[in-house]
């Protein structure tokens, strides 16, 4: 067991976890942050996406020890209401299992583009979200939501 200290959704937390515990399990089982989902456990679906120091990662592939002293954001602390609202209004949500990961991935790419002053394009969004699978929507509602959120944010 190791003692792990990291910031989750703005709060410093300490947990005792097995050394090779996955970040996904630490969030879900030790911190009861079940908004982060497991769809495959092998880095393919993106349902487990969280932000580590602002960058999206598949938490099923990240050993928790790697986030020591770092900043982790899960859907429960995602803030940034305009993206959530846009997903809810534009058909970006159906069964919802991909939604937390999709929202965090969207947030990360919109933030990056805004920081670089790059325009947000549909093709760019599709590429940025290609690591997050959604089986329900056909992606149209998700892309529409991201475009709306971006329009609203700038």
């Amino acid at each position: 067991m190791i003692d792990l200290r990291f910031r989750v959704n703005g709060e410093w937390r300490s947990v005792r976890v097995p050394p090779l515990a996955r970040l996904l399990d630490v969030l879900r089982e030790h911190l009861a942050l079940t908004g982060t989902k497991e769809g495959c456990g092998e880095g393919e679906c993106g349902a487990c996406t969280v932000l580590v120091d602002g960058a999206p990662v598949n938490s099923c592939l990240v050993p928790a020890c790697q986030v020591a002293d770092r900043d982790v954001v899960t859907i429960e602390g995602a803030g940034h209401e305009s993206i959530q609202e846009a997903f809810a209004d534009c058909g970006g949500v159906q069964c919802g299992i991909c939604t937390p990961g999709m929202i965090l991935a969207t947030r990360a790419c919109l933030a990056e583009w805004t920081a670089r002053g790059e325009p947000c394009t549909e093709a760019g969004l599709r590429r940025a979200l290609a690591g997050n699978l959604c089986r329900c929507t056909g992606y149209g509602g998700i892309i529409a939501a991201a475009l709306r959120a971006h329009g609203g944010a700038t």
Partner: protein
């Protein structure tokens, strides 16, 4: 009407975008143990015994085998041929043999490894054409096909194949079961589409009366048919373990296990022989359908039934012979996936229509227009169609949008990247096939609460499609109240009457219809001056002792008659119609196919929640396009080859084309506000239109899907032998 037809935010969206929705894996169950399954590692054999590794301390876990089942060792569904746990015969790879529950994952894995089934292998059968065991045969006859061949201008033949397909809901399957409480009630919560199917299975396995088997559906992370029948297996397994362990047990599949053992779309072969007149009129259709059902009956008979009933496509033809069979093999049982047999037969008939068009030198749009069903026509089963038929309307809509009727089809193209387009026309029967709904007798209740709100109780599950928003809109407009004045019960067999399973595009038309009926009765009963808010009147009505509860039961609309023995009559209360146009670019160096544009027109009768209907159409259409060229599901020695998400691929946001969705509304007079169904129909048309587009682009016949680059290359080399290495 304030809510029907309006864009409203779905009631479950807020919890979902905040990560607050609770799926089965998110349930906090104190003291729960984890369950796991020991499985067969051969496709066919005889279970001799189960050895236990003496090095493992089995007192730390509980083990359940077939001998520990208190009730019947069957997965009760249609035919009781599938055991919950193998006792003697092993019929497919991954068949469950024993169950284990343990306090933690490490102990569970150790225990699973310490149980070693000894199996004497037998020779399996994987070839559906060679299988002699038939789960179900169906024949449909109309007119006399054999009298036509000699007179026909042309007789066109074709054989078409469709592969299996994985539902790939992003949430793997799972259930949590609790041991009997002090009243003997067993509770199961899970990711499931049909609480009452699971209840029926639990009652048989645990020998329980209905009131002691309570099943609740959690928030479901996608189903698409994949969570129609299989959750019964997981629920029974979890309940057996919970009973043995005396504590709750979570039986949650990881992706690998889910892919390996849950049912997928039936592989299918369809043969067509069609007699046509010089003007393109279909004179006779002779069709033979064969599906691989896998190792047990499961839902195969009803999948075949829907398949053969859609086999002619939405076309008029006076002489039809359809023969269908679904056969046994030693594959993992195939099961329900959106479309339920229709995508397979729809692919075949649409490719056959294109083949006929090519033979006659007709444009594929013109051939379809010439033969499309219209009001007053009869189907192959003799069903007389009324003015709810929208075959021409949907075709006209996509033609107007894309201009495809003027695009030349199958002209020689040049260059490395070649473009083409394809069109499909399809239909989908709404609700259960034949007398299914009449037998099911679905029930729905609506009751006024003390504060004047109305609680609607139905067992329909929200699996992402938007059931809650749809039922709420129907209830609110039927009552004349606000959507917020309607509460929906959880899909819980302990609280909601049996409104039937969440399958077959039936939730809107059938369950929604019952909700409308119950709510209208309640509105009449409450009465009063409608200028006053319903809620005030309803609260006063129950305060004054009025009976504020209504329960209604399904009765087939007048005039709907089905003859199951002869496959004659009204196979479905009504059909929805759809047309797709796909434009592709094919790279003849790599045979990569890029879908450039997709346009679809879908007739849903009436779109109760247009935003959600569009979502269903877009999502279903992308699954259909995936079925057409990307999604490969194959087996080797009865074992799934694509056993991980990395290899069992589905379309990403980059693969998905921009979609143009056109809603067509040809109301069904007996549907709630005119609604038919929508869930499955978008799964039918994408693959054939995509195959046609590839054919147009590169000039090779695409008679099988998925049209992978490997397949296209092989077909290309047949027509371009000079390019073979």
């Amino acid at each position: 009407m304030a809510f029907v037809g309006a864009f409203t935010r779905r009631p479950d969206a807020d919890a979902k975008v905040r990560g607050a929705a609770r799926y089965v894996a998110d349930l906090d169950v104190p003291d729960a143990w984890l369950g796991g399954t020991v499985r067969a590692d051969v496709a066919r054999g005889r279970l001799v015994r189960i050895d236990r590794d003496p090095g493992f301390d089995f007192t730390r876990v509980v083990v359940v085998t077939a001998a520990d089942i208190p009730g019947r060792n069957v997965v009760a569904l249609i035919t009781d041929d599938q055991p919950l746990l193998a006792q003697d015969a092993i019929e497919h790879h991954g068949e469950p043999i024993a169950l284990v529950a343990a306090p933690d994952r490490a102990t569970l894995l150790a225990a699973l490894a310490a149980l070693r089934p000894v199996i004497a292998a037998r020779t399996p059968c994987f070839d559906m054409e060679a299988s002699a065991v038939v789960w179900k045969r169906i024949a449909i006859d109309r007119g006399d096909v054999d009298a036509v061949w000699a007179k026909a201008h042309r007789v066109v033949e074709g054989t078409f194949h469709t592969g299996s397909q994985e539902q790939m809901y992003i949430e793997p399957q799972g259930c949590v079961a609790w041991p009997p409480d002090r009243h003997g009630v067993v509770v199961v919560r899970g990711s499931l589409q049909c609480p009452y199917y699971v209840q029926k299975a639990l009652m048989a396995a645990l020998d329980l009366p209905a009131e002691r088997a309570r099943v609740v559906a959690c928030t479901v992370g996608g189903g698409f048919g994949g969570k129609e029948d299989y959750p019964s297996v997981i629920a029974c397994h979890a309940a057996l373990l919970a009973r043995a362990a005396g504590r709750p047990v979570k039986l949650l599949f990881d992706r690998h296990e889910d892919l390996a053992v849950t049912p997928k779309r039936h592989p299918c072969r369809v043969w067509h022989r069609t007699a046509v007149a010089a003007d393109g009129t279909l004179l006779a259709m002779d069709i033979d359908v064969r599906m691989d059902g896998g190792a047990y009956t499961t839902l195969s008979p009803v999948v075949l039934s829907r398949g053969v009933l859609h086999a002619t496509g939405p076309y008029r033809c006076a002489n039809v012979r359809v023969r269908g069979a679904v056969v046994a093999t030693n594959h993992v049982p195939y099961g329900a996936f959106r479309g339920f047999g229709a995508p397979q037969t729809c692919f075949a008939v649409e490719r056959q229509m294109d083949r006929i068009a090519t033979e006659l030198g007709m444009h594929p749009v013109a051939l379809r227009r010439h033969n499309a069903l219209a009001p007053g026509d009869r189907t192959a089963t003799g069903q007389l169609l009324d003015d709810s038929v929208a075959a021409h309307a949907v075709l006209d809509a996509v033609v107007a949008e894309t201009g495809c009727a003027r695009m030349p089809w199958r002209t020689q193209k040049r260059g490395r990247r070649r473009r083409g387009f394809g069109v499909s026309l399809f239909w989908h029967g709404a609700g259960f096939t034949g007398s299914g709904e009449t037998k099911l007798k679905s029930r729905v209740a609506a009751a006024v609460l003390a504060d004047g709100r109305v609680e609607v109780a139905a067992a329909a599950t929200e699996i992402g499609q938007g059931t809650e928003a749809m039922l709420r809109a129907i209830a609110a407009d039927s009552l004349g109240c606000g959507a917020a004045d309607v509460a929906l019960t959880e899909p819980d067999t302990g609280r909601a009457p049996d409104s039937g399973p969440t399958v077959a595009s039936r939730t809107c038309m059938i369950v929604g219809g019952l909700v409308a009926q119950a709510c209208r009765q309640l509105r009449d009963r409450v009465g009063g001056d409608e200028a006053r808010p319903f809620r005030d009147r309803a609260a006063a009505f129950v305060r004054d002792g009025g009976d504020g509860r209504v329960e209604v039961e399904y009765h087939a609309p007048p005039g709907i008659v089905w003859d199951e023995a002869n496959y004659r009559g009204d196979a479905y209360p009504v059909y929805g119609y759809g047309a797709d146009v796909v434009e592709v670019e094919v790279d003849v160096a790599t045979f990569a196919v890029k879908v450039l544009r997709f346009c679809t027109a879908i007739d849903v009768g009436r779109a109760i929640q247009p935003g959600l209907v569009r979502g269903q159409i877009e999502g279903g259409s992308l699954q259909a396009l995936g079925f057409g060229h990307l999604e490969v599901v194959t087996t080797q020695a009865g074992r799934l080859r694509q056993d991980r998400m990395a290899t069992c691929i589905i379309p990403t946001a980059v693969d998905a084309p921009p979609m143009r969705v056109l809603l067509v509304e040809r109301p069904f007079q007996h549907g709630p506000f005119g609604a038919k169904g929508v869930g499955e129909m978008p799964a039918d048309g994408g693959a054939p239109a995509l195959a046609a587009a590839i054919e147009d682009a590169i000039g090779i016949a695409v008679d099988a899907v998925p049209a992978t680059p490997e397949r296209l290359l092989a077909a290309w080399l047949q027509t371009h032998p000079e390019e073979a290495l």
